[in-house]
């Protein structure tokens, strides 16, 4: 069947030329303060975009706009060409405060199940899917545990599992590893990379850790604070097979790191 014919049938074929997430001249004014000013950016389908910036530059706010949790004061945020007026079921948000984003009264399986229930998945097929997802995030034997019985890293993985249950086209992650120790963080970085690869989802990843941003991303955008504007955009031309040791010693990596570091330093008041 020709491409035109498929499009006429109404099947979703993502146009490689058209960005999946697009900000067009987005400005956000909250209570008289301009948080973000004139932000325009495109995120292509399947891309891994990282957003960095000094504290208060509005990177979390930008993510929440992409999620549909906020509406821009002017300009437009679109997903697949349609305006983001409200959160979408196929865009999953991974919050930094995982403890608050999980239901403490449900087990790990129950938490993942919440997303499946909301999507209307039949109860008979749920448990297979839940086990599959828990295995994917490395929590195969924890289905019956409550969040309070799990470590921080495990809770964050559980949140990711729940997000994956939404079969998301895009994954929006707000400093997801900020509250975890270095070792756990590194393990989870690699897991997120492989999960993103396997599901072909677009990822927008907000972090204050510059090395993390370069390690993970295809592209890194740095925001300037007060008000938030795009200050720098770096294409990460590192080999796609990222490795915690070799990639981080790669001279390209170090050069990019230097660039970003200088940018942040210069942007701080």
């Amino acid at each position: 069947m020709s491409l035109t014919a498929i499009a006429n049938q109404g099947t979703k074929v993502s146009d490689p030329a058209r960005p999946q997430i697009a900000f067009s001249n987005v400005t956000l004014d909250l209570g008289g303060k301009i948080i973000l000013e004139n932000i325009s950016l495109d995120v292509n389908p399947g891309e891994f975009l990282c957003i960095v910036g000094a504290s208060g530059c509005g990177k979390t706010t930008a993510l929440r706009l992409a999620a549909g949790l906020y509406q821009p004061t002017s300009g437009a945020v679109t997903f697949d060409g349609k305006p983001m007026l409200a959160p979408r079921r196929d865009i999953a948000i991974v919050f930094q405060d995982y403890g608050k984003a999980l239901l403490p009264w449900r087990t790990a399986a129950g938490n993942v199940s919440l997303a499946l229930e909301a999507s209307g998945v039949a109860s008979s097929s749920r448990s297979a899917r839940i086990n599959e997802l828990l295995k994917k995030v490395g929590l195969p034997n924890h289905a019956g545990k409550y969040p309070a019985e799990m470590s921080g890293g495990m809770q964050q993985r559980l949140q990711i599992a729940r997000c994956l249950a939404q079969e998301p086209k895009a994954l929006l992650m707000d400093e997801p590893f900020g509250a975890l120790d270095a070792m756990t963080r590194q393990g989870l970085q690699d897991e997120v990379l492989s999960l993103a690869r396997a599901s072909n989802a677009t990822v927008v990843f907000v972090t204050h850790d510059l090395e993390e941003a370069i390690y993970l991303g295809d592209r890194v955008i740095g925001l300037l604070p007060h008000p938030g504007r795009i200050g720098i955009e770096l294409k990460i031309d590192l080999p796609r097979r990222r490795d915690q040791l070799t990639t981080r010693e790669n001279p390209q990596f170090l050069a990019l790191r230097r660039q970003l570091f200088d940018f942040i330093k210069a942007s701080e008041p």
């Binding site: 949790l69 409200a86 959160p87 919050f95 608050k100 984003a101 239901l103 403490p104 229930e117 019985e149």
Partner: protein, 255 residues
């Protein structure tokens, strides 16, 4: 229970038995007139006799029925109303201050109004008990619903959960510790108001039994009744504890 915990419990039981023995001694020595203070032996005898003859049993059921009815009505109404008010910030800002003002009001003060409206009847008692038992439920439920973690509401929005699903799957479980503690308080209030209404309106129940025993100076019967009332309080509190433990086991697990 661990070994040492068991020993301490036994020792504590022993101490309690000691107090009972002391009580018996005081009664035997007639240090306090037996008209006012019967010995534990007489109180126990009155208890047994009361049950054997069926009188006490009837009174016990009477009080339990009053309590149960009021508590039930109050729970349903309290949770429903509390959920409605608690989940809406607008409603809370209009209603909560008035509720705060009414909180310290002795709920027994509604009794004369109820008597004026319904007379010294069973309906008066049921109205008073339900009215009194609603307050702790209502206030606790409002608090529980108001305190739901906002992040969870964002998760719900992201998942496109229906309004009903949000209430049943997120708000209600989140508020359940508060609701259960409200239920506990409701039970206590229901017991107290049952006794007061029985005393006032002469309704069939332990309150009435205890008053009659007092009036005829039958102290052993009086004490038997008081012991039963204490037993009701104890058993209901225990039942609530067990329910809380079962339903809230996710709280205690973990670090």
């Amino acid at each position: 229970m661990t070994r040492s915990a068991w020993y301490w419990r036994a020792a504590s039981l022993f101490v309690a038995a000691g107090f009972i023995a002391l009580w018996q001694m005081i009664a035997n020595q007639r240090l306090v007139s037996p008209v006012f203070l019967p010995g534990p032996d007489r109180a126990w005898a009155a208890l047994v006799h009361g049950f054997a003859s069926g009188d006490l049993w009837g009174k016990l059921i009477g009080t339990l029925e009053h309590m149960a009815y009021g508590w039930f009505v109050a729970s349903i109404a309290g949770i429903a109303l509390g959920a409605t008010i608690g989940s809406s910030r607008t409603m809370r800002s209009y209603v909560a201050p008035s509720l705060e003002f009414l909180r310290p009001l002795p709920v027994s003060a509604i009794i004369p109004v109820a008597i004026a409206m319904l007379g010294l009847t069973q309906s008066m008692a049921l109205f008073v008990i339900a009215f009194g038992a609603i307050w702790p439920m209502l206030l606790a439920t409002i608090h529980g619903f108001a305190a739901v973690e906002p992040r969870l509401y964002e998760v719900a929005r992201s998942l496109h959960m229906s309004r009903l699903a949000v209430i049943l799957k997120i708000a209600l479980p989140s508020a359940s510790p508060d609701i259960l503690s409200g239920m506990r308080l409701s039970l206590t209030v229901a017991l107290i108001l049952s006794v007061v209404c029985e005393i006032l309106a002469g309704l069939d129940g332990l309150g009435h039994w205890v008053l009659l025993s007092a009036r005829s100076f039958r102290s052993a019967d009086l004490f038997a009744g008081v012991i039963l009332l204490g037993a009701i309080g104890y058993v209901t509190a225990l039942a609530m504890s067990i329910a809380e433990q079962r339903l809230l086991k996710w709280r205690s697990s973990g670090h």
